[in-house]
């Protein structure tokens, strides 16, 4: 393994880290407020699709913004069902995932490209030339955002309100906080970040849309949130670890002599996720009212 190998592995890992970190940080905000969204996978897929389409007509930045908008809309639907309508969060998430799988595959067929669509080079977000190769500017966003969110959750009044809504909604309600509205805003914001991560995948990273583009990244982000114990900085670390193993899998596939079959390399990120989650979980504590709708008595 030469120095250039190490650098290219680092480059792939950083790129693979971005969607996981963005999605995980968004989910941390949602979970802090008491909403557990397993529909992240669907949000990533739908926003990657919508972002790619928008980027082709309006440029990369429009594409990323459209992805955020798509994520926000799904976050809004999710939170309305699960706050005002007292839905079952797990089931809503599964529904979002099924819907997204069908919708993106359907949309790709309607656009005349079953299962696969290239985003034209002109519509992709320009990458920066650096000594280690082309780097997407979005990496900076993924590196900075967790610190901002950490500050927001730990040091601001709004962050405290979020925590109250997730920890003890009854008390928050008595203190004059509109619990459902707080959760709604948190979910929309979280969906927006996941949408940014989805649009990043199609517009700024891979330059294509497939019907299984998200490839479990939404679920890996969920695992990353569990790993972080709702601390955005640990989510950044976790995102890097997961990104590294995805990068490693990609890198091993390009080797001329394959030391292990490609299928086992593809398993690596998921196995590592399991190991990390089962090794760390003992000390993690989640909000008391996570996953429960707030019903005023």
């Amino acid at each position: 393994m030469s120095l250039s190998d190490v650098l290219s592995l680092l480059r792939i890992s950083l790129h693979a880290m971005v969607p996981i970190v963005l999605t995980a940080v968004g989910e941390i905000i949602g979970e802090t407020a008491g909403l557990f969204n397993i529909g992240l996978e669907g949000i990533l897929l739908l926003s990657a699709f919508a972002g790619a389409l928008a980027a082709e007509s309006g440029g990369a930045v429009i594409g990323l913004l459209t992805g955020m908008g798509t994520g926000a809309i799904i976050g809004f639907i999710f939170s309305v069902i699960n706050t005002y309508w007292k839905g079952t969060q797990m089931v809503t998430g599964i529904g979002i995932n099924l819907f997204a799988m069908g919708f993106v595959a359907f949309g790709l067929i309607q656009l005349g490209a079953p299962g696969f669509r290239d985003v034209s080079r002109a519509a992709e977000l320009a990458k920066w030339r650096t000594p280690i190769g082309a780097m997407s500017p979005m990496i900076i966003v993924a590196l900075v955002l967790p610190f901002l969110i950490f500050w927001f959750l730990r040091r601001t009044r709004a962050g405290l309100i979020l925590k109250a809504a997730g920890e003890m909604p009854e008390a928050a309600d008595v203190a004059g906080i509109n619990v459902n509205r707080v959760r709604l805003i948190a979910s929309v914001f979280g969906g927006m970040l996941a949408g940014l991560g989805g649009a990043y995948m199609s517009v700024a990273w891979m330059g294509l849309v497939t019907k299984d583009l998200s490839a479990g990244r939404g679920f890996i982000s969920l695992a990353c949130v569990v790993f972080s114990g709702l601390n955005p900085l640990l989510a950044l670390l976790g995102g890097f670890i997961f990104g590294f193993f995805q990068g490693l899998a990609e890198w091993v596939k390009t080797l001329p002599a394959k030391p292990i079959p490609a299928q086992f390399v593809s398993m690596l990120p998921y196995i590592v996720t399991l190991l990390v989650v089962s090794g760390v979980i003992g000390r993690v504590r989640f909000p008391k009212s996570l996953g429960k709708p707030y019903i005023r008595e």
Binding site: A105, F106, F219, I281
Partner: protein, 386 residues
């Protein structure tokens, strides 16, 4: 003498009342299905299709004749079993998303029957036993992780779905590949196949495996102590613990039973589906793909009750069989993927408890929103004045 309304009509009225106030579970499922189909129709309309024609084609393709009904039933066969996986665990209070992966392992294990030469009648049973064992073993790890390390079963089963997908692909391509045709595994030998039930269709005797297992689960859940413990632990874990129920044992057994069910689902696909009786590796094992996830939709619409699941599976099997007809239907070919959109919409609708009640709630929300907008717009000019 005062005339009283006949009892039948009062009961009907009460039924209608309960439906309208969202208390009758079966009708709520129907309502969710209708909402899902309407959302699908809306999307078809937006994309320029004729939803009415498409649904007619779908309905004809699903229940239009004995051939169509047979193919719907054949698609329902594995769905019943993967739905049971989800339901058993949900009854015990857990979200087991792992049917997909456990089904892959069951399918791969049942192919192993092809490695042996067996007298007729033994192969079928051995295949089912292999599949059930593989599914159960595969579900043991998430159960073990939950009990010892407290790992959320949603995360672990999802990770296991991906791991088993790649593992099954590896086994399909390298260990059980057909020497003559490398794109598929060895075929189940003729003596070990489940015979076709209706000639000329895909429907085989595996349907009875599914139905029998559903009935067994019904009996276990509602007529045994173990089933009582599962349901008690699911309804109120704290109360169940005070009542002396060993919740660890319940979780463990629910997972194993679910794994058995999902493993059997894999076996029904491999051992009972014409014409190849093998797994195709190319394109990510298309016969197996998503059967586990679709099963979750079936379980929810079937209200996590074995009998409800049988009915819901007939509906979803019909959707999927009818979808295949719909995509080749003359002037209005709607891609098969529309079926999955409809399924997703149905599950979304199912996640809202007492669905019918949201309509007044939606009205109230709408009024609040309009009021808020009005207040904001009133505030706007005032600030400008200041």
């Amino acid at each position: 003498m005062r005339e009283r309304p006949p009892i039948g009509s009062t009961r009907l009225l009460r039924g209608v009342y309960r439906t309208l106030t969202g208390l009758h579970p079966a009708l709520e499922s129907v309502l969710a299905a209708v909402v899902g189909l309407l959302i699908g129709a809306l999307l078809m309309y937006i994309w320029g299709f004729n939803p009415w024609k498409a649904y007619i084609a779908l309905l004809k393709g699903a229940y239009g004749g004995s051939y169509e009904i047979s193919s719907s039933l054949s698609r329902a066969t594995p769905l019943i079993l993967t739905a049971l996986t989800f339901s058993i665990c949900l009854r015990a209070g857990m979200f087991n998303i792992g049917a997909e992966g456990q089904m892959y392992m069951g399918a791969v294990a049942s192919v192993c029957v092809a490695l042996f030469v067996l007298p007729p009648g033994v192969g079928q049973i051995l295949g089912l036993v292999f599949a059930a064992t593989a599914g159960a073993l595969w579900s043991l790890v998430p159960a073990f992780l939950k009990l010892t390390r407290g790992v959320n079963e949603v995360i672990s089963t999802i990770m296991f779905n991906w791991i088993s997908k790649w593992l099954a692909l590896y086994v399909t391509i390298f260990l059980l590949a057909d020497p003559a045709r490398s794109e598929k595994t060895l075929s189940i030998p003729v003596a070990a196949r489940f015979p076709v039930l209706v000639r000329g269709t895909d429907l085989s005797y595996t349907l009875f495996v599914s139905i029998a297992f559903a009935l067994v689960i019904y009996f276990v859940l509602w007529h045994t102590t173990f089933g009582y413990e599962i349901r008690a632990a699911g309804l109120n874990p704290t109360a169940a613990r005070y009542g002396g129920i060993n919740s660890k044992r319940t979780i463990f057994l629910a997972f194993v039973l679910g794994g058995v069910s999902a493993g059997l689902a894999g076996a029904t696909i491999v051992m009972g589906l014409r014409p190849t009786y093998a797994i195709y590796g190319g394109g990510g094992m298309p016969q197996l793909l998503n059967m586990g996830f679709d099963g979750m939709a079936v379980a929810m619409v079937g209200r996590n009750h074995p009998i409800g699941i049988l009915i819901a599976a007939l509906f979803f099997g019909g959707l999927s069989a009818g979808g295949r007809v719909m995509q080749f239907y003359g002037s209005n070919p709607v891609p098969l993927e529309m079926v999955r959109i409809v399924m997703g919409a149905i599950v979304l609708a199912m996640s809202i408890p007492e669905l019918i009640r949201i309509f007044p709630a939606a009205k109230k929300q709408g009024q609040e929103f309009v009021g808020l907008m009005r207040r904001l717009s009133r505030r706007g000019p005032k600030e400008e004045e200041a």
